[in-house]
């Protein structure tokens, strides 16, 4: 049986990779992909704890997280398309129209 702490270590490392990706990448599509990585890291944690504690609620939470992720992707990509139509760029360094 794999110890629970291994799952926690895996998921925290995965979360960190996603976080660093959000911080360093310039392409806004990749930034959204890295947000998906972070959501998946949290999901691994939920499922692992759900198995080791013998409660099903963690898996229900993962179900809702997947729902919200789908909604977030739809809206986020809509925003990206609208921004691209406005500014002809997907580099987040150049998207600063809300700056004072």
């Amino acid at each position: 049986m794999v110890p629970l702490s291994w799952y926690v270590a895996l998921s925290s490392t995965l979360f960190l990779i996603g976080l660093v990706g959000v911080l360093i990448r310039r392409n806004i599509v990749i930034v959204l992909l890295c947000i998906e990585i972070m959501l998946n890291a949290v999901n691994i944690n939920f499922v692992a704890f759900s198995k080791y504690q013998h409660v099903i609620d963690g898996q229900i939470f993962v179900f809702f997280v997947i729902t919200v992720a789908a909604a977030e992707v739809a809206v986020g990509l809509g925003i990206i398309i609208a921004l691209f139509r406005l500014r002809e760029t997907i580099n987040i360094d150049e998207i600063n129209i809300l700056k004072l």
Binding site: L16, I24, N43, I60, L77, D93
Partner: protein
């Protein structure tokens, strides 16, 4: 056996996540993310969450990733110039701090703790999908309805945002 499977899935997940961040071409990144989703589904099977493994493959690998690929091909922007953002030193410091924190946490964890075993509740054994269905439609009925509302709003919002100039009268 379980340990070997966990090692394989974990290594594949971490490696493909690194590739998502590393690749310059967004289509390659999306393909690396597809690999990551598949291996996470495998990890769910290892954790006896078969329903979630199916949902992961259907929703993430099937729907979300195709949406990403559509947008990447629609925008068709060749990434030129610099690869990383212009970032303030504070953010770089925070990132390095997060890496150091995680490394400290992992190196100071005892990986075989003497945890007391949690007794398995003596419920009649249903399958994974049946159990999730039972709980989802009784105890979590209200959040389930809210989730449908979230999806509806996202649907309308995505169409309005991507449609462009609306002709208001």
């Amino acid at each position: 056996m379980q340990m070997a499977m966990f090692a394989y899935f974990g290594a594949a997940i971490l490696l493909s996540a690194l590739f998502v961040v590393y690749f310059r071409n967004p289509i390659y990144s999306a393909m690396a993310l597809l690999t990551m989703f598949m291996h996470i589904a495998g990890l769910y099977v290892l954790l006896e969450a078969e329903f979630l493994a199916g949902v992961q493959l259907l929703v993430y690998a099937g729907a979300i990733l195709v949406l990403y690929l559509f947008v990447v091909m629609l925008l068709n922007v060749q990434s030129r110039g610099r690869f990383v953002q212009k970032q303030t030193p504070a953010v770089i410091g925070l990132g390095v701090l997060a890496v150091i924190e995680l490394a400290t946490l992992i190196f100071h964890t005892r990986f075989y703790p003497e945890l007391p075993a949690i007794p398995h509740p003596g419920v009649p054994t249903l399958g994974n999908t049946e159990t999730i269905g039972m709980v989802l439609y009784t105890q979590y009925l209200f959040p389930f309805e809210i989730a449908s509302l979230v999806l509806l709003i996202a649907l309308v919002g995505a169409i309005v945002l991507a449609k462009g100039k609306l002709k208001y009268r």
